[in-house]
Amino acid sequence: MQTLFFLMIFAYLFGLLTALFCGRGSFGRGLTAVSATIGAGAGFSLGLWVVLTGTPFIFSIPDLLQIAGGFALRLDPLGAFFLIVIGLVGVAASIYGFGYSKDYEDGRASLRLLGVMFNLFMLTMSLVTLADNVLTFLIMWEGMSLTSYFLVMTEPKEAETISAGVWYLAMTHTGLVMLLGAFLLLMNGGSGGFSDLRMGSGSLTAAVRGLVFVLAFLGFGSKAGIVPLHIWLPRAHPAAPSHVSALMSGVMIKMGIYGLLRVALDILGGGPVWWGGLVLGVGAVSALLGVLYALMEHDLKRLLAYHSVENIGIILIGIGAGLMFHSYGLMTFAALGFIGGLYHTLNHASFKGLLFLGAGSVLHSTHTRNMEEMGGLIKKMPWTAFFFLIGVAAISALPPLNGFASEWMVFQSLLGGFNLTTPEVALLIPIAVGMLALTSGLAAACFVKAFGITFLALPRSPEAEHAHESPLSMKIGMGILTFTCIALGLAAFVVVPILGRVLSGFGGLPDTHAVFTMNLTVQSPNRFGQFSSIWIAAGLLVLLVLIPLVMRLFRVNRRVRISDSWGCGKIGQTSRMEYTATAFAEPLRRVFAELYRPTKEVSIDFHPDSKYFVQSIDYKSEIPLLFSRWLYEPFLNLIRSTARQVRRLQAGSVHLYLVYVTVILVLMLLAARWF
């Protein structure tokens, strides 16, 4: 284990150095990518080792950072699970990055900075899961945030990127302040070792514990992207290079989930019902709003970023349900909720990573993120299209892929709510079920749009027409995650018991290993529900082979004629006749018009002689972002106006400053006299 740990550290450091000294050129890029891959692979293996054996890995340097208990690392199964998630997407993204970053050789971005920050980002993020005291945790946390800031700023010349960077930096530090508050309250003047915090948390008053929980939820939530703290996410994630977007959306936001579990479940050991209710409620709202805003998005990468908000919401629904059952003492159901949340974390990492890599390939080849300019890519980029299709089906929670398996677990944990008798909880849970179902239905609609408009029909622009398939390294990166999307779905009956073991012991959760049968099906406690993705997949496959065979047996007509699409008598089809992304989402925009409140601006240019002859029509419609307008803009305006008031003090006049000095001096003398 020690070997794997050092291999991980030194591989990342080596990658950092090679990027620093020979970041450009295919050799340098290759070496950087290989070392990042080795680092991620070593982290993955280390995590897997700890999860499977159940023995934590401990490593500390007491002399480093002596003031706060030294540099302490300890990898327990919970942290190891998240290290696996990092390693999984990290391997794919590092390999993919080799091909993807070739475009930056033209000097648009500094490849050195990209390579250095990429490796440092992976390193600090991995160490977040290992940190065992407050200072180590916060340093690594901040390192992860800062390096990812630099990664977002890879293409510094774009105006959009600059604004995204500012938002990201502001939001992540707001979160950090809340985390500092939470940890200071937890430490209560004692040491910052996590084991001490765990021991001390019992003696805190209920109010302090509640405050710690809320601060931690907001702090970690701002990283995870919960509504309304998600505002940075759809800006920052698309701005970064695509393999970094995959890591940020697939993995980094999950560190928020890790932190929340660490503090709420492990250190605080669970709490009153309202904790779970809060997490569940915020999760359900995030899920629904995330997908609703994604539906209206035509920027492929921003659409995916909004879906990260949605999926974090689904994860939080699972965790919230877990926390609720935990406070009622229904440990098996609590475990089911947490397992659902963790399973979805892993699954979301693999399909969202895959989709961002796929979107990167499209961007790489068409140089646009606007879906309205794509189309027909399934013929030019068959591999990317296939990988993307699997990712799309997985994220839409379609069986037998992994997204369905974890959403099924979350559903089942919510259905366990019938064990609760409190009326308000009894009403909250069905509403959450409805919101979760609506979310997954809307996600399917949104991904029909994303895949259909991007990859199907005729190309809508010359760029899309001349698209080309991605190089091998990018295909390998996507292929790895495609494989895991399928494998994690089929192997649900293996994954679920392992996740049960990961959680056992945290917050007094039992080992639910025995609850889940291993005979190819997954079942929730008390045989409440059962399903076997491997049987479903087998059934589908057998039928897909059998149906054409039977049709041949019955001598069905097998002739095929290729012809034009039917155009109501119109000859010659062009891409302008196709449905657009906007048109596709229009019915839902009308249904949810109360929420979106779209603005419409139509200007018609008539012929000077008669208004019955229209020369051109200009139509503009925008969906204002609810939270920017009602929450952030008033706040920013307040800050700006305060700043303007403060500026009056600094008028630039020396006389005025002399007055200030004199006044302050007098005041201080008086103060010294009196006290």
Binding site: W408, L436, G441, I536, L543, F554, A583
Partner: protein, 317 residues
């Protein structure tokens, strides 16, 4: 070994039964509708002839279409057919009962719809896109109502497994006179109309661009592909009717594997399908199609009914 062979034979038998009944059911509804509208109507077996005709015709494919267009009919058909292996039609619990519960059934059907919607976009015509967009809108909005109806059923039976729900209702018939049971049935019935593309949500016999949903999506299909898709959608109707019949009023279904009970089960299944077919035919003659943007209201009603069903089961627990 014998039991395994028996089990597989039973499952295949049930799937074949569903395949054979589906066109008949649709033909019956069409015929009855025509009679109710004072028309003579086509014979009940016309859908069988339609399938025969379509399987004998060549396929015309748009030159814009990709491989996805060609696989979709098979995927759609396979999805619905897998569902017939999971839904207890003549016997409960089925041997494959633990392979998938009610949630799996719903999401498998969604898988078929998903691919059909993609195929609708694949040919690049405005019709296909329009159909896909509308179909996905309705599918998405119907999802919460279905989930809540499932939740309501599961609350009564203590399980989401189909076999479990059916057998528990048989053992404990008091559940059926529970108000929650009726409300859940009403909710499920409305959603079934939406999911299977019946009036007032979609009109299966229209080809008017303003009102088409499902038909617009599959407009480019012909020959054997169209046959598969049509058959799959008829099968889907049969599956939803069977769910409505057997989950809420399960009597008649076989619980033991004897020839007599199986025969009785087949007969009661046909009877139940006929009753539901008459209901749908009457509804479709009595009411007009809703405007697309009024459909959410209908589905919202179903959602509220399901929510009431759950609350009442909580209160009466």
């Amino acid at each position: 070994m014998v039991t395994l062979v028996n089990a597989i034979l039973l499952e295949i038998g049930q799937a074949v039964l569903a395949l054979l009944l589906a066109p008949g059911l649709v033909g019956f509804v069409r015929w009855l509708k025509a009679r109710l509208q004072n028309r003579l109507g086509a014979p009940v077996w016309l859908p069988y002839v339609e399938l025969w005709k379509l399987f004998g015709k060549e396929v015309v494919i748009s030159r814009n279409a990709s491989w996805l267009f060609r696989v979709t009919p098979y995927i759609v058909f396979a999805c619905v057919l897998v569902v017939t292996f999971l839904v207890p039609m003549i016997i409960a619990p089925l041997p494959f009962d633990n392979a998938g519960d009610l949630l799996v059934v719903v999401y498998l059907l969604l898988l078929g719809t998903f691919f059909l919607a993609l195929a609708g976009l694949d040919t690049g015509t405005a019709f296909g896109g329009m159909g896909s967009s509308r179909e996905m809108t309705i599918a998405a909005l119907a999802e919460p109502a279905i989930a809540l109806a499932i939740f309501g059923l599961a609350l009564g039976a203590g399980s989401t497994n189909l076999g479990q729900i059916v057998t528990l209702t048989l053992i404990n018939p008091g559940v059926t006179i529970n108000p929650g049971h009726f409300l859940a049935f009403a909710a499920m019935f409305i959603v079934s109309l939406a999911e299977t593309g019946r009036l007032p949500v979609d009109n299966p016999s229209t080809h008017l661009e303003l009102t088409m949903i499902h038909e617009a999506m599959i407009l480019e299909y012909s020959g054997r592909y169209l046959a598969l898709i049509e058959w799959a959608s008829w099968l889907k109707l049969t599956v939803f009717f069977t769910l409505l019949a057997n989950l809420f009023i399960p009597w008649g279904i076989a619980t033991t594997l004897t020839l007599g009970s199986l025969g009785l089960a087949v007969l009661t299944l046909i009877l139940k399908l006929v009753v539901l077919g008459v209901t749908v035919a009457v509804i479709e003659t009595r009411i007009a199609k809703l405007r697309l943007f009024r459909v959410p209201e209908l589905i919202g009603m179903s959602f509220v009914l399901a929510l009431l069903a759950i609350t009442s089961s909580f209160l009466l627990k």
